[in-house]
């Protein structure tokens, strides 16, 4: 009797809906759907203002400042952004490997390869490091833009570009912090297969941030 009462007072580990799906997973997908709307509004703003700046610097064209006579080259640095895009794509791979490692935590690992693939701490660290590297690239890009004379107040391109990529960077920052909390849990008590939903939800958010960057990279950086 005592055991039964003690057990029922413990918090339930799952919150199923009538569809048989965990409500937290439905919540994260609904959140991602709402985030789609947010980012499409920011992307729309960027595209509407594209090519309508009166003064430079411009993203893809050189510009001569009439006041000083200085020639400003196109401001976007495609090689640097391509590298940061690659890093973010790889972070998505590390994230799914972290999730797979947590889901298969209890399975026996016979080979060294199995032990590496099954090491959730390693993949969570790799994902967080890749996210931080991406943020480093973005900080470098923003700093170099400001040095070249483009700020959020310079022209329509600057306003819409910094708003869009800044919002994305803020989402990446939130994702890195989320990953750090998962790492803290993993070090404190170990993430097992029963925690896979915690990692799954974080992974969905992380991949969403990645797919948004896929769109931004094409629309902002590659299409002239």
């Amino acid at each position: 009797m005592t055991a039964s009462v003690t057990h029922t007072s413990a918090p339930a580990s799952h919150h199923y809906t009538t569809l048989g799906i965990d409500s937290r997973k439905i919540a994260i997908w609904a959140f991602i759907g709402s985030e789609c709307m947010l980012f499409v509004s920011l992307i729309s703003t960027y595209l509407i203002y594209k090519g309508r700046s009166i003064v430079g610097p411009f993203p893809h064209e050189a510009w001569t400042d009439p006041a000083t006579g200085h020639v400003l080259k196109p401001i976007l640095n495609i090689p640097v952004t391509s590298a940061s895009t690659f890093v973010l794509l790889m972070s998505s791979l590390f994230m799914v490997l972290a999730l797979a490692a947590v889901q298969n935590k209890e399975k026996p690992k016979h080979t060294r390869g199995d032990r590496i693939l099954g090491n959730s701490k390693l993949w969570l660290w790799m994902t967080a490091a890749a996210g931080t590297t991406f943020l480093g690239f973005q900080a470098f890009e923003f700093t170099s833009f400001v040095h070249e004379g483009l700020t959020i107040r310079t022209n329509l391109f600057g306003s819409s570009f910094f708003t869009l990529t800044g919002f994305h960077g803020a989402h990446v920052t939130a994702g890195v912090l989320w990953l750090v909390t998962l790492l803290a849990i993993d070090y404190r008590r170990g993430l097992g297969s029963r925690d896979s939903l915690l990692v799954d939800i974080a992974a969905l958010y992380w991949h969403f941030v990645d797919v948004i960057w896929i769109v931004i990279f094409t629309l902002v950086y590659l299409i002239k």
Partner: protein
């Protein structure tokens, strides 16, 4: 009544919750590690192709540049959503929750592009 409850609560937390849970619709096993690596390779190759195309002036000046980049971007988007976000394998309701807002957002984007003169429909 009491006995039934006691026997159910003797299960571990997760097993007990699974026993209470209705059967989740259409959930399948997630891909293997090798599938994840292959997907990463495909995404990398597409990205390399996109950046390569950016540096070919004749292609950039042509009419196929923007549609090609949009197609490749949409392809990468779909691959990540299907394989890394497991939408291909998970319950159908997640597809509805994601594609519904995405569709509305995409239509809004297209409408805004028309309204602000970035897209045209040629009338005879």
């Amino acid at each position: 009544m009491m006995d039934t409850h006691a026997s159910t609560t003797n299960l571990p937390d997760s097993a007990e919750a699974d026993a209470h849970a209705p059967h989740a619709e259409e959930e399948h096993a997630h891909p293997t590690w090798s599938t994840y690596w292959k997907v990463a390779l495909i995404l990398t190759l597409i990205t390399v192709g996109e950046v390569w195309a950016y540096y070919i002036p004749s292609f950039v000046a042509g009419r196929g540049f923007i549609p090609t980049l949009l197609f490749l971007s949409a392809l990468k988007f779909t691959i990540v959503v299907m394989f890394y976000m497991h939408l291909k394998y998970d319950a159908r309701i997640f597809r509805v929750l994601f594609t519904g807002p995405l569709l509305i957002a995409s239509l809004t984007l297209l409408a805004l592009m028309f309204l602000f003169g970035h897209l045209y429909i040629k009338v005879m």
